[in-house]
């Protein structure tokens, strides 16, 4: 038999690397090509909005895998390569250079881009958003310039990225204003009690928080100098960091006619509408059993969907069903979230709200669906296991500080853990 065309993976981030690695672990022996459009080999993104802003370091500290690891697994890496089209009829990728590459199967792990601020002046200098290693270095430098010149850093968006950047900017000594369009922080993903805790912490660290702020334009000549909002206020700015979410990179898939809906549509096994194409990570949207569309932007989602994608490429089913989890570092608070709180009807807290070191347990119809933990590592780990095993404490048990969540886990056997 003629040797088969390779499996091609578009996107050399967390998901792309994991697909390649999992294919090898699952026994795939033929050629494997990982195509990335950045110039750095695969790296971790979460630190870019956290400690990397404080101390940008050597690339190697962010590397997802060493060169040796890729070599050992015979994963060929092709960097600085932009894919311009998928030709499904010919089973080929077309690169921006015009080169065409045959594939036997294709995996899309194209990630997401920072959502652009749709107002006049967004193209001014010192208006930055965070996605890549270069973005992080540019933001770190801009914050330092602001701190040195006593110019304020204005952050647009009070979500994870915006708040992590705000915390780092305060640590670097800059004055910080956060403009959030909604009435509270991280409102899409947390209960008011959690938003309120973070509001207090950021204010205690000297961050100016403005809610209901709708940005109309950015002013400046060359570099940005101020941010204007609908209420007529003008916020002076030495730099502006835009953290208003991401847009999945589904352009290639959409142009090729794959089913997309604000992301490449995949099932629990990471399969797209084309049987020879899988997708994983930030570029995907998953249709849930209740019809809702789930978009997760997290390392865990990238890794788990990638494992499913690799299995699917080899004709196996490995559904990703574990409870989603996520983390964020702001000042000395470790925020860890597990489960999906959407549709909750009751929130019960455990711990010290003032410190803050507490967890918010979200219930729907008396069953636990999600837990946000602020510097309560044990709550997070226990809740993760509870949710993964479909176990639920009662709201009364959670509310009782004497009750041990661990008691619900003691009968679990390690051998059956997870199951996936």
């Amino acid at each position: 038999m003629a040797s088969q065309a390779p499996i091609l993976i578009v996107g050399a981030g967390q998901a792309g690397v994991q697909i390649a690695e999992s294919l090898r672990q699952e026994g795939y022996g033929d050629e494997l090509l990982l195509i990335g459009n950045e110039s750095h080999p695969p790296y971790q993104r979460p630190p870019l909005s956290k400690k990397w802003l404080l101390e940008p370091g050597a690339y190697s500290a962010l590397a997802l895998r060493g060169a040796e690891a890729l070599q050992r697994r015979r994963i060929t890496l092709r960097l600085d390569s932009e894919v311009s089209a998928i030709d499904r009829a010919a089973s080929q990728l077309q690169l921006a250079t015009g080169e065409r590459l045959d594939y036997s199967k294709l995996a899309l792990a194209t990630g997401a881009s920072a959502r652009a601020l749709p107002v006049p002046g967004a193209g001014l200098g010192e208006v930055l958003s965070l996605r890549s290693i270069g973005d992080s270095a540019a933001i770190s430098a801009a914050i330092r310039r602001c701190a040195a010149a006593a110019r304020p850093v204005v952050v647009i968006g009070g979500g994870f990225i915006g708040l992590e950047v705000a915390a780092a900017a305060r640590k670097l000594g800059a004055a910080v204003t956060v403009l959030e369009g909604l009435p509270r922080l991280m409102s899409r993903v947390t209960a008011p009690i959690v938003s309120d805790a973070f509001e207090r912490v950021h204010r205690a660290h000297g961050v100016e928080l403005v809610f209901g702020a709708q940005v109309t334009q950015l002013l400046g000549a060359g570099d940005v100098e101020a941010v204007c909002t609908t209420d007529g206020r003008e916020y002076p700015a030495g730099c502006v960091i835009v953290g208003i979410g991401v847009v999945p990179d589904d352009r290639l898939a959409m142009a090729a006619g794959l089913a997309c809906d604000r992301g490449i549509l995949v099932d629990d096994c990471a399969r797209t509408s084309d049987a020879s194409i899988v997708a994983a990570g930030d570029c995907t949207a998953r249709r849930l059993a209740d019809g809702r569309l789930l978009r997760l932007e997290s390392v865990q989602n990238a890794v788990e969907q990638a494992k499913s994608a690799a299995a699917a490429l080899l004709g196996r089913e490995r559904p990703f069903v574990a409870a989603p989890w996520f983390w964020s570092d702001q000042y000395d608070i470790k925020l860890q979230m597990v489960g999906l709180s959407h549709g909750y009807d009751q929130v019960v807290t455990r711990g010290d709200l003032d410190k803050p070191a507490f967890s918010a347990f979200y219930f729907r119809a008396g069953r636990l669906i999600a837990v946000d933990s602020l510097s309560r590592v044990q709550d997070h780990m226990q809740s993760k296991r509870l949710l993964d095993h479909g176990l639920s404490p009662t709201p009364e048990q959670v509310a009782d500080p004497q009750f041990e969540l661990q008691s619900l886990l003691k009968d679990l056997k390690v051998a059956t853990a997870g199951g996936a």
Partner: protein, 107 residues
């Protein structure tokens, strides 16, 4: 450079020379050792770099921080007395020869 011996879940062994100051997680990930995920990249936030420290090394290591101890309380594989998170173990000349084994599952 301190040498660290890694044992993959399947039993395959690799000895790596790590730079002093590098975490055992970092060394394993750079070399592509099987059995480690390290999803959070060393933030002590995910417990997917769980390892078992082989005797006689356990007592020679600095004890786990509160966070690490709490993360270890619910790792995916069996928690044993010699369970540690490899992102929190830092290579040093005194630990030359340290041996760790990765469990069957991390998540």
């Amino acid at each position: 450079m301190p040498r660290v011996r890694y044992i993959e879940p399947g039993g395959r062994e690799h000895t790596l020379e790590l730079n002093a100051g590098s975490s055992l997680m970092r060394g394993a990930v750079d070399a592509g050792i099987d059995g480690i995920e390290a999803q959070c990249g060393g933030n002590c936030a995910c417990a997917t770099c769980h390892c078992y420290v082989q005797p006689p090394w356990l007592d020679k290591l600095p004890p786990p921080s509160d966070d690490e101890r709490l993360m270890l309380s619910n790792v995916a594989a069996e928690r044993r007395p010699n369970s540690r998170l490899s992102c929190q173990l830092i290579a040093s000349p005194a630990l030359d020869g340290l041996t760790v084994q990765f469990p069957e599952r991390q998540s």
